[in-house]
Homo-oligomer: 305 residues x 2
């Protein structure tokens, strides 16, 4: 049986080698580091450049992680795709490999589609995977998909599949939307993950489940401490510290900025590479980023070199 | 060497069986019928629900067509994908199978990406395929992708790859944009295909290359006659007739409406099926469609049953 997850998840950044192929070794090392600092692994999210990876690349990276001893129970792979057939392949594999949750984008090529069609997409995935171990987290990121996960869609899916629909990631950046999701559905166990640690202090007391946030890739320990201690005397300071780091990355193209930071802290310049259509940071931006992070004493403790 | 193509192309609709799997036999029969009425085959376009197909499904359907004797020189497969690796796989296959052109979407998940990143995507495809037989048609459909094929991108790609960048499909629906593309680039041989036969009489005298239009799926002979005879005394009547049919389909969800029409004219109800997130026409809409088509004497001459 699936159960709702809680905690602090990184949409894990994906390293590429000189041929732009995924670097499974470096990916695994990054995942081990994240887990050791208390983070869960939302591999193949937006910040993972998942849309820029083929299905086979995603399957191979997942297998490599598990063979290298990354614990399956820390995984929440992104398994959504425009093609139902791809989403089913990825979701089946994640469940078979022991992932306790999957984060599923709606199909995002066609716009203005009827809610009925989005419902059918999720319904077909659930019926075809056909496993009581499947726990689905709906991925609301309308600025990329233009296909929203509406309150009425959640309600309808929850009613039909109460033991499979476990929660949602809200990447809208609209706190009133996250709050509405939490207030409406968290009381019955639905796990709502806003996409930023900056909302932890606001969302956790209402019943939020944590966060799935880009910057967990670079600040897992700080964000995990905030998640654990938001309601202690240290809470406000931890929130401030996390917000400071978040703001620095948010002022830049975030994926490129995080990868450049991983490159500098690992000593491997290859980490800075992104797949098109994204572009790596230029040297001027990289220098500004380095200065801003230096000014707040940013560190990546024990980061694999 | 690639050469610019001309003519009337159908973004071929894709039939699905009861399990929502592509029906290769019916797909092939539809393609044979289109070719016999003078249409080229832009398989795996937007109207083909290409985004809803996996890479393997697209490869298999292409192979099946060719094994069944559909001429490779009538193919312009859609080979764009969010993942560079997928776009390369699909493009390599199309070139190896003898397709004289491929229609390539920009990667469409990330929004607001730099033009440099889109340039790099096309550049990587061209370099990796590495064939002088590759002819690329850039696919501008900003209402779905939100990632435009700008005039400056075309200019830059043409300058770097003059023997590979053969043309563009303009699905913006903005005639001033199609005209600007034609005026700027057609004189040097660049083939511009607006996405509607309703623009044939306007675009052909300026140097347009034809059209890649949804309704070629249901009205290939009428649109081919218009393409051939727009500048004869019959031209105005042919344009009117084509426009009448176009308008009827355009007033509905077009993919579902064309598939329902194929279902009724073939006697195979399965043709009406779409993959989620699209929805099939309901009976009320189907009835209105049938009446409207009947009123203009619509027929699909010799359509395979």
């Amino acid at each position: 049986m699936a159960h709702p997850l809680r905690g602090v998840y990184a949409p894990v950044i994906t390293p590429f080698d000189r041929a732009l192929a995924p670097d499974a070794e470096r990916f695994t090392a990054h995942c081990h580091w994240l887990v050791s600092h208390g983070a869960g692994l939302a591999i193949f999210g937006t910040n993972s450049e998942a849309a820029s990876l083929s299905v086979d690349e995603r399957l191979h990276l997942t297998d490599h992680l598990l063979e290298a001893g990354v614990p399956a129970d820390r995984l929440m792979p992104g398994t959504g795709a425009c093609a139902l057939s791809d989403a089913v392949t990825l979701t089946q594999h994640a469940v078979a490999q022991g992932a306790p949750g999957v984060l599923v984008l709606p199909p995002f090529f066609y716009k203005g589609v009827p809610e009925e069609g989005v419902f059918t997409y999720y319904s077909e995935i659930i019926e075809r995977v056909g496993s009581d171990k499947l726990g689905i987290y709906l991925y609301h990121i309308p600025q990329m998909t233009q296909v929203p996960i509406t309150m009425s869609l959640i309600e309808r899916l929850l009613k039909r599949y109460p033991h499979t629909i476990m929660g949602a990631k809200d990447s809208s950046g609209d706190w009133s939307n996250s709050r509405a999701m939490i207030e409406a559905f968290a009381p019955s166990g639905f796990a709502v993950f806003p996409a930023s640690e900056s909302l932890l202090t606001a969302s956790l007391p209402l019943g939020g489940a944590g966060c799935i946030s880009a910057t967990v890739n670079v600040n897992p320990a700080g964000i995990k401490a905030l998640f654990d201690c938001w309601n202690t005397p240290e809470g406000a300071v931890l929130q401030d510290q996390a917000d400071q780091i978040r703001k620095i990355f948010q002022a830049m193209p975030m994926i490129a900025a995080m990868k450049r930071t991983a490159a500098e802290h690992s000593g491997h310049a290859d980490w800075a590479r992104v797949r098109p259509p994204l572009c790596a940071l230029d040297e001027e931006a990289a220098s500004a980023l380095r200065s801003a992070l230096g000014a707040v004493g940013f560190r990546m403790e024990g980061y694999p070199r």
